[in-house]
């Protein structure tokens, strides 16, 4: 199991300011489940993914795999990467244009010094990724493939190391709409047949609905709501999630939960200027409408704590929500 506890990543900016890109995140991904991490661009979701992969160093908190904390020595990282693999957004850029499909998929094997039956392993990975017959693709170059096929090659390149968890950063965002379903079905099938776990990073809540078991909503470096997809998306409790869900086009089933579209004013603040108290307060529709007056002093003064690994499956970082539950 891949776990993050109170994970923090800070970047120094020119002018001595500090951007808190990831500001306290607790997240678990187990084999056999797909977790969606959703949020707007700039909310820190890609930084979080890179940190989970060990491509970025955390400035606080821990990443652990199978109960063992991730160390940043090159040997420990190499062993870790056989278990946790990455699928990038843009398959065209993720493949070296000068490498054939075979080389691209075999690269992981060569890096890890796995020499027995290389062609067999490559063929196996390609066919698991849905490129059949695999031999037909061995000598193709990326530019000869379609976008969907390229993304399958990238996925095959990750699968060849037989990882237990995939981290996919917007895996279908650059693909044509009609091709997306195929790639998502592939991820679902890998989960169901092979017990692969996946963290899928996306800005598209519909994608989470299509494939994920659990979803975490990220706002300004922190997860503000997480839980099973059905609960979080059809009965959202955090004001931010409610607003996100309400503006989705063509979702009549949600009218019960959020009758009117809530279009938040303004945009995501800068990660170097995270508001005090609740970070969502300046844009919160509940604060603006006065519905949160009873807990306003908490919203202004107290940061709702990092959502921890608690017993409840559905977690919400909102003072108003807590007051309502308590009432």
């Amino acid at each position: 199991m891949l776990t993050a506890r109170d994970l923090r990543v800070e970047f120094g900016l020119p002018g001595g300011r500090t951007a808190r890109a990831v500001d306290g995140v607790d997240l678990d991904v187990s084999p056999g489940e797909i977790v969606a991490l959703a949020g707007e661009s700039g909310c820190g979701k890609t930084t979080l993914a890179r940190t989970l992969l060990g491509l970025e160093k955390s400035t606080g908190g821990t990443v652990a795999f199978g109960g063992e904390a991730l160390r940043h020595s090159s040997k420990a990282l190499k062993a870790y990467r056989r278990q946790v693999q990455l699928v990038l957004q843009d398959p065209t850029g993720a493949l070296n244009p000068r490498h054939t499909v075979y080389d691209a998929v075999a690269e992981g094997l060569r890096i890890h010094g796995i020499t027995d039956d290389e062609p067999g392993r490559v063929a196996e990975a390609l066919s698991r990724a849905g490129l059949r017959p695999p031999e037909q693709f061995f000598l193709a170059y990326p530019h000869e493939l379609s976008g969907g096929q390229r993304q399958r090659v990238v996925i095959a390149g990750a699968l060849v190391l037989e990882p237990s968890i995939l981290i996919a950063d917007e895996p279908v965002a650059s693909l044509d709409a009609s091709v997306r379903g195929e790639i998502l079905s592939l991820l679902l099938r890998l989960k169901e047949d092979a017990g692969l776990g996946a963290l899928v990073i996306t800005h598209d809540l519909g994608l989470a609905w299509s494939i994920a078991d659990r979803i975490a909503i990220m706002y300004l470096g922190r997860i503000v709501e997480q839980g099973p997809v059905e609960q979080v998306l059809t009965e959202p409790r955090h004001p931010y999630t409610r607003a996100l869900v309400s503006v989705l086009p063509g979702a009549p089933a949600l009218k019960a939960a959020v009758p009117e579209p809530i279009v938040l004013a303004g945009e995501l603040p800068d990660a170097s200027r995270i508001p005090l108290g609740c970070r969502f307060r300046p844009r919160c529709q509940e604060v603006a409408s006065g519905a949160a007056d009873a807990v306003l002093h908490e919203c202004e003064g107290e940061d709702p704590a990092v959502l921890g690994p608690e017993a409840a499956p559905h977690l919400v970082a909102c003072h108003l929500d807590r007051a309502r539950i308590a009432a």
């Binding site: 709409a177 607003a243 938040l264």
Partner: protein
């Protein structure tokens, strides 16, 4: 009132590898105060259609048919008239606002530029108008003094819209204007665009690959595949209950949250979008179609009525049968 009308429009690119048809016989109308949505994937010809309106296509493009703007044939216009019509008659909001704005010029000047070009006003007046336009798209007028890099993606897209509106055009074409934006910012921009249509009675032609966005904003939707319109009808109906297997698949790619039917069942199509240089015989969609029959390989289906206000270019749907798989 019909502001913009395409009649049997075809665009063919002459390339080194032969002639590539991008748009093949399209008939469409944009009405005042209404929104027409064009859905389709990359390479289906939807952007070519947008560029054809302002004659922005490269020299290698061969255009046949007619495009009527306020009853005047755009393809017959001389250059002087065309220049006058660009921006005052019809304007485009492009995708990728970062690249369409000049990085070293203040926002206000860029918005004022079309006004100065097309109307006999002083720079001061044009500047005032530019500030008013920025205010109308939800930006503080003080933003006129900013440079593009000082704005966020959503704000830049708003500037693009303000520029498109600068000379009070009758028709606005939005080509994937919200695609690169986040859900919340997209909602803000869509709200803004819809408001302009109802308040000012412009005719809006909105181009997107996202059928779900079109269904929530547009009155009519046309789905394009391989340069042809394969389905047309009221936007919400096309999305909810498609009459062409391609629109059905495209709609399924955007699941309805809360709908148990789409939960953990990502919809989509096998195969890849067609290569316009090598289109199959008969119906272009046949190789990817789940309900294809033998006759689909023999002749290309015409766009025919399949219900009140609904048009479909599918033999199966035209026979009144279900295209659901």
């Amino acid at each position: 009132m019909t502001l913009l009308e395409f009649k049997d429009l075809s665009v063919t690119y002459r390339g080194s590898r032969g002639r590539i048809p991008a748009v093949r016989g399209v008939d469409l109308k944009v009405e005042a105060g209404r929104t027409l949505g064009i859905a389709g994937e990359s390479g289906c010809g939807k952007s070519t259609l947008a560029m054809a309106v302002l004659r922005l296509l490269p020299k290698t493009a061969e255009v046949t048919g007619t495009i009527l703007l306020d009853g005047e044939d755009l393809l017959e216009m001389g250059w002087g008239r065309l220049r006058a019509v660009r921006w005052t008659g019809a304007s485009i909001v492009f995708q990728g606002a970062m690249h369409s704005l000049n990085a070293v010029q203040r926002i206000g000047r860029q918005v004022a530029e079309p006004i100065l070009v097309h109307e006999d006003v002083t720079p001061a007046e044009a500047g005032k108008r530019a500030e008013a336009l920025l205010e109308r798209v939800g930006l503080p007028p003080s933003r006129a003094r900013s440079f593009p890099h000082e704005l966020s993606g959503g704000q830049r897209q708003r500037v693009m819209i303000a520029m498109a509106l600068a000379c009070d055009p009758d028709v606005v074409i939005a080509d994937e204007a919200t695609t690169a934006l986040d859900v919340m910012v997209q909602a803000q921009v869509l709200q803004l665009i819809s408001g302009l249509v109802t308040e000012r009675g412009v005719g809006l032609m909105m181009i997107s690959h996202d059928l779900s966005v079109l269904s929530s904003v547009c009155d009519t939707a046309a789905v394009m595949y391989a340069g042809r319109i394969v389905e047309q009808g009221p936007a919400a109906e096309v999305f909810a209950e498609a009459r062409h297997p391609y629109s059905a698949a495209l709609g399924a790619a955007f699941p309805v949250i809360g709908d148990p039917a789409s939960r953990k069942r990502p919809g989509g199509l096998a195969g890849d979008p067609p290569n316009p240089a090598k289109l199959p015989e008969g119906c272009s969609f046949r190789p990817r179609c789940a309900v294809a029959e033998e006759r689909c390989g023999e002749a290309a289906p015409q766009l025919l009525e399949v219900g009140a206000g609904r048009l479909s270019a599918c033999f199966v749907a035209q026979d009144g049968e279900s295209i659901a798989v």
